[in-house]
């Protein structure tokens, strides 16, 4: 019985994930597991496949082999994704934040938040407005509701992008290098928002180069290189006692 209970806590499980771009194999059999309320930080040099792995979770890329289960249901099994309503429902469990924010430039901040709940869930403006306002307050953007994205700093845009993803009430939030396009002085505000989200036990998978954030906020670290998981562990163990030479070399360069 105990086992079944913990199994139900698994929000995301990927097993044997393989993926190639033409002749280049970018994912060579990756296994990961994320439990409810965990923050998994994926780190590694560029070209290690970490962003691709994240993008396979919501079908922005497709895997060649392996399985993906979201909250116990297969999104992809032996390399084949499910389709139709089931795919849509499972994809709806995830929200994504991009490196380049990707806000809709022709819409105000508030319209960016309202768009998907109204179009996808068919909600009325009045129904979604309270949550949208609450989310803007949470990311500290209440006073910018009527601004266009171009009138905001990168850090502000990214916080709006986080609120926009949350407006669809996802169970798992995926972050693809959310601070990499930001000026250094703006990364702090975005990381703070993410930290708060983690404190509320949102399940998160974060691809990042922010080592201090990973160490402090993550429940588990995965270090990837050349399409493989080189090493994984809890943050203290990982940063204080890395076992693999590859990890040590990477950390020496980063810190």
């Amino acid at each position: 019985m105990g086992n079944m209970k913990t199994d139900r806590d698994v929000m995301l499980r990927m097993t044997g994930i393989r993926k190639s771009f033409a002749d280049l194999e970018v994912l060579r059999g990756i296994d990961i597991e994320v439990r409810k309320g965990e923050l998994l930080a994926i780190i590694g040099p560029s070209g290690s496949g970490k962003s691709t792995l994240l993008r396979c979770i919501n079908m922005l890329e497709t895997i060649d082999d392996g399985s993906i289960a979201i909250e116990g249901e297969f999104l992809a099994e032996k390399g084949e994704y499910v389709s139709g309503d089931k795919a849509r429902r499972l994809l709806g469990c995830t929200g994504m934040v991009f490196q380049q924010f990707n806000l809709f430039p022709h819409m105000t901040v508030m319209e960016n938040l309202l768009e998907a709940p109204m179009q996808v869930k068919g909600m009325k403006r009045q129904e979604i407005l309270p949550l949208a306002k609450e989310l803007l307050a949470k990311v500290g953007m209440s006073d910018r509701a009527d601004y266009y994205p171009s009138q905001l700093s990168g850090g502000q845009q990214q916080r709006v992008a986080i609120a926009r993803a949350l407006a669809m009430k996802p169970d798992i939030m995926l972050f693809d290098e959310p601070t990499s396009a930001l000026d250094p002085e703006l990364t702090g505000e975005v990381l703070k928002t993410m930290r708060e989200l983690a404190e509320e036990h949102m399940t998160m998978v974060v691809v990042t180069h922010e080592m201090a954030f990973a160490r402090e906020a993550a429940s588990k670290i995965i270090f990837m290189a050349d399409g493989n998981i080189v090493e994984q562990g809890n943050p203290d163990e990982f940063f204080d006692h890395p076992r693999e030479e590859r990890t040590k070399a990477f950390l020496r360069n980063m810190l």
Binding site: N58, M59, L60, R88, L91, G92, T94, G95, M96, F98, Q100, N102, L103, F104, P105, H106, E115, A116, Q119, V120, Y148, P149, S150, A161, R164, A165, M168
Partner: protein, 214 residues
């Protein structure tokens, strides 16, 4: 003076034909051009190739030749259209091809991240196009569409060869009859007035859609 007034009245009638061709062509060519551009960028290879071929033919041959073809060659294979319909068919097919290329370039200039953001929010392809992509495309394509639209006003004068009494043909008829060049000047003023109104309208539209920046 009375003569000039008479000329202007006749030419207003010609202008009516010109405007008719202009508006109906625009009304048809814009949506057809949009559909053709979506076909052109479609992943369905046969559809995309068909649209590419259509655009190639329409942009690769003179509009004058296309008009003559519809007007004189189609009846030989049994397709006899009324004059105005023949002109509209040629104009619409020609301008839709140009609009299709303008729209295609506009659509393809929208960053991939916009599609990805919409997709991760659960939006379908039609929703993404209608709500996210096309509103941004409108802003980008307004200047080239404005150009083509102004061209269309002037291109309507090509129906001259189909013996339809448009603005230019009426002017020419009066010039030949009266040995007076004034109708040509009046025609120029009329064309300028039409293009002036269009320029003004597009300026308004660009201001309206330009309220945000990328």
């Amino acid at each position: 003076m009375e003569n000039l007034l008479h000329t202007v009245v006749l030419m207003l009638e010609g202008t009516q034909v010109t405007l008719e061709i202009f508006f109906i062509t625009l009304l048809l060519a814009l949506p057809i051009g949009l559909l053709a551009s979506l076909g052109r960028i479609s992943k369905l290879r046969p559809l995309s190739l068909l649209m590419e071929f259509y655009i190639w033919i329409m942009r690769g041959t003179p509009l004058m030749l296309q008009l003559l073809f519809v007007y004189f060659a189609l009846p030989m294979i049994g397709v006899k259209l009324p004059d105005i319909a023949a002109a509209l068919l040629a104009f619409t097919l020609n301008y839709a091809a140009y609009f299709a290329e303008i729209f295609r370039a506009g659509i393809q200039s929208i960053p991939k991240g916009q599609y990805e953001a919409a997709k991760t929010l659960g939006m379908t392809y039609p929703q993404t196009m209608r709500r996210i992509i096309l509103p941004q495309v409108i802003r980008i394509v307004l200047p080239p569409v404005s150009n083509e639209t102004i061209n269309l006003v002037k291109d309507t004068s090509l129906i001259y060869i189909l013996a339809m009494n448009d603005l230019l043909r009426v002017a020419r008829t009066i010039v030949q009859r009266e040995f007076d060049m004034t109708p040509f000047v009046v025609a120029a003023v009329f064309y300028l007035a039409m293009t002036f109104v269009l320029t003004w309208m597009f300026k308004k539209l660009e201001a309206h859609y330009g309220k945000y920046e990328n």
